[in-house]
Amino acid sequence: MTKAQEKNLPRPNPETAAYWEGCRQHELLIQRCTHCGEYQFYPRILCSACMSEHVEWVQSAGLGHVLTFTIVRRAVSEAYAAEVPYVVALIQLEEGPKMMSNLVQCEPDSVEIGMPVEVIFEDWSEEITIPKFRPAARPEG
């Protein structure tokens, strides 16, 4: 388990508890509207496309590509300093939604926009597991 006591751990709330529980099970859950079919992330109590309250949890394939990224050279706090330089990226999932994450298990200088990536999970505590991404074993699709 990664030592992360001083990192900025998320605090799940009623809307997001299922998402974080999914992460704990190493499953990336996103929401899909049963009314209009739109996928969304982050979790909401309604569909932000059509306002339907009928949103269901579905498991993302965990595949996507890098929309943009940066290599952080000066850490946000001491808890992150050991990881410098680390990659903060915006990932577009194959299902459509975008999310922020870290890109790991690769040389930061090798990262490119458009690079296919796949989700991995880092267990930070008993309760919290953080989804991150690494270069995909093979191109998406």
């Binding site: 990192k7 900025n8 751990l9 998320p10 605090r11 799940p12 709330n13 997001t16 992330f41 982050y42 929309l67 943009t68 990224f69 940066t70 290599i71 952080v72 050279r73 000066r74 850490a75 946000v76 706090s77 992150y80 990881e83 680390y86 903060v88 990226a89 915006l90 975008k98 999310m99 922020m100 994450s101 870290n102 926009i113 953080i130 991150k132």
Partner: protein
């Protein structure tokens, strides 16, 4: 809503000392800015019946504007402190102007200050750094504020071939003006090479692509244009105001390379009945160099993807087609956080009063000021004129 065009004037404007100002705390800076603006307008505090402030990070109050009113012993009928950030500074000016035109109040003092350079405890500084972003879906990944803007810079480079040299040119341009401004925090000229050889903070942003951390404050006084005839300095009129709000978190942005500045600019130009070619001087929010490029494009001064070449070719210089950030901007003049946009406003007033000395834009008649808050989230554009009818 009725158009504000020509109905409200800025009759007072002043800055405090900026940079390192350890002798004044954040509350005192706010009060000092207010005092200077009242003096500039030649009015007494009893003539103020509206007060707007932004909260301070160094010396926060639960009800900040009320705390400043109490300190000054004024008793306004319109009193509000705003969460601020770059864009909301101007959006509250938009609201205050509306309050004047609807008769809620007559004369509004807007005063904003903070002391981020010398006034923060270590704990405050750390929590400030870690508090930007979504607490569950961004902050755990360790992004810094420069990192958020680096995401935008990288996307712009990828889409349009914008180069690190072109980003650097924004910082170089601002510094040239700061060298002409004795109040600016950083006045030594810099080169493109200086920017590129400064420490990488978050690729592709170097230290000199990032704005300053400062103490300082500024204030303006607004009243109706009808009352603006008898003040010590030439009044400056609001010709247009427009807002655009795109998102809060950059990971939810509709686009990484354009912003709601498209909407705020269009709305402000429509109200003013003007277009980008009518603007003599622009003061644009420049917390990081790529922001200026996106604003130049979104506000219609450059085609999408062409702002880098425009700045590189001297387009924003004093002798160029669109002087930008003539005080030095957040990159070189000062950046005390939430009040940062106020200095763009007081500079625009100085330019339109023709009081800007060595950095005066010749015959400046119409100025545009633009603020954005969050991470390209919330945008307000104001168009100001030396004449009431633009």
């Amino acid at each position: 809503m009725d158009s504000l065009r020509g109905k409200v004037a800025i009759v007072g404007a002043a800055d405090t000392e900026v940079g390192k100002v350890p002798q004044l705390g954040a509350t005192a800076l706010c009060v000092d800015a207010a005092r200077r603006a009242l003096e500039d307008a030649g009015i007494t505090k009893d003539q103020v019946d509206g007060l707007v402030t932004c909260n301070s990070m160094a010396e926060p109050y639960m009800y900040h504007a009320e705390a400043i009113a109490e300190y000054l012993q004024i008793f306004p009928r319109y009193c509000i402190s705003v969460g601020a950030g770059g864009g909301t500074t101007f959006s509250i000016l938009h609201h205050a102007a509306s309050a004047i035109t609807t008769g809620v109040c007559d004369t509004v003092l807007i005063s904003m200050a903070d002391s981020l350079r010398t006034g923060l405890s270590r704990e405050q500084a750390m929590s400030l750094q870690s508090s930007t972003g979504h607490p569950q879906f961004e902050i755990p990944y360790g992004p810094t504020v420069p990192a958020y803007y680096a995401l935008i810079a990288r996307a712009h480079m990828e889409a349009y071939g914008t180069t690190p040299e072109q980003l650097a040119a924004v910082a170089v341009s601002g510094r040239k003006y700061a060298a002409l401004n004795s109040n600016a925090q950083m006045r030594d000229l810099i080169s493109i090479e200086d920017v590129l050889s400064s420490r990488l903070i978050a690729d592709p942003l170097h230290l000199l692509d990032c704005s300053l951390v400062s103490d300082g404050g500024a204030a303006v006084i607004l009243t109706s244009a009808d009352r603006a005839t008898d003040f010590p300095h030439h009044s400056v009129y609001i010709l247009g105001a427009g807002e655009g709000h795109g998102h809060e978190h950059i990971s939810q942005a509709q686009s990484l390379t354009s912003s709601a500045a498209v909407d705020s600019g269009r709305r402000a130009f429509e109200m003013a009945g003007l277009s980008p070619k009518d603007i003599d001087v622009a003061e644009l929010y420049d917390c990081f160099t790529p922001v200026v490029l996106i604003e130049l494009e979104d506000l219609g001064f450059c085609k999408k993807g062409e702002a880098g070449a425009f700045v590189e070719a001297g387009g924003t210089a004093l002798e160029g087609p669109l002087p930008v950030n003539t005080h030095g901007g957040l990159l070189s003049h000062c950046h005390p956080g939430n009040p940062g946009s106020m200095f763009a406003l007081t500079e625009a007033v100085r330019q339109l009063r023709r009081q800007a000395g060595a950095r005066q834009v010749k015959n400046a008649e119409v100025a545009l000021v633009h603020g954005q808050g969050g991470i390209m989230s919330s945008h307000t554009t104001l168009i100001l004129g030396r004449e009431r009818n633009g």
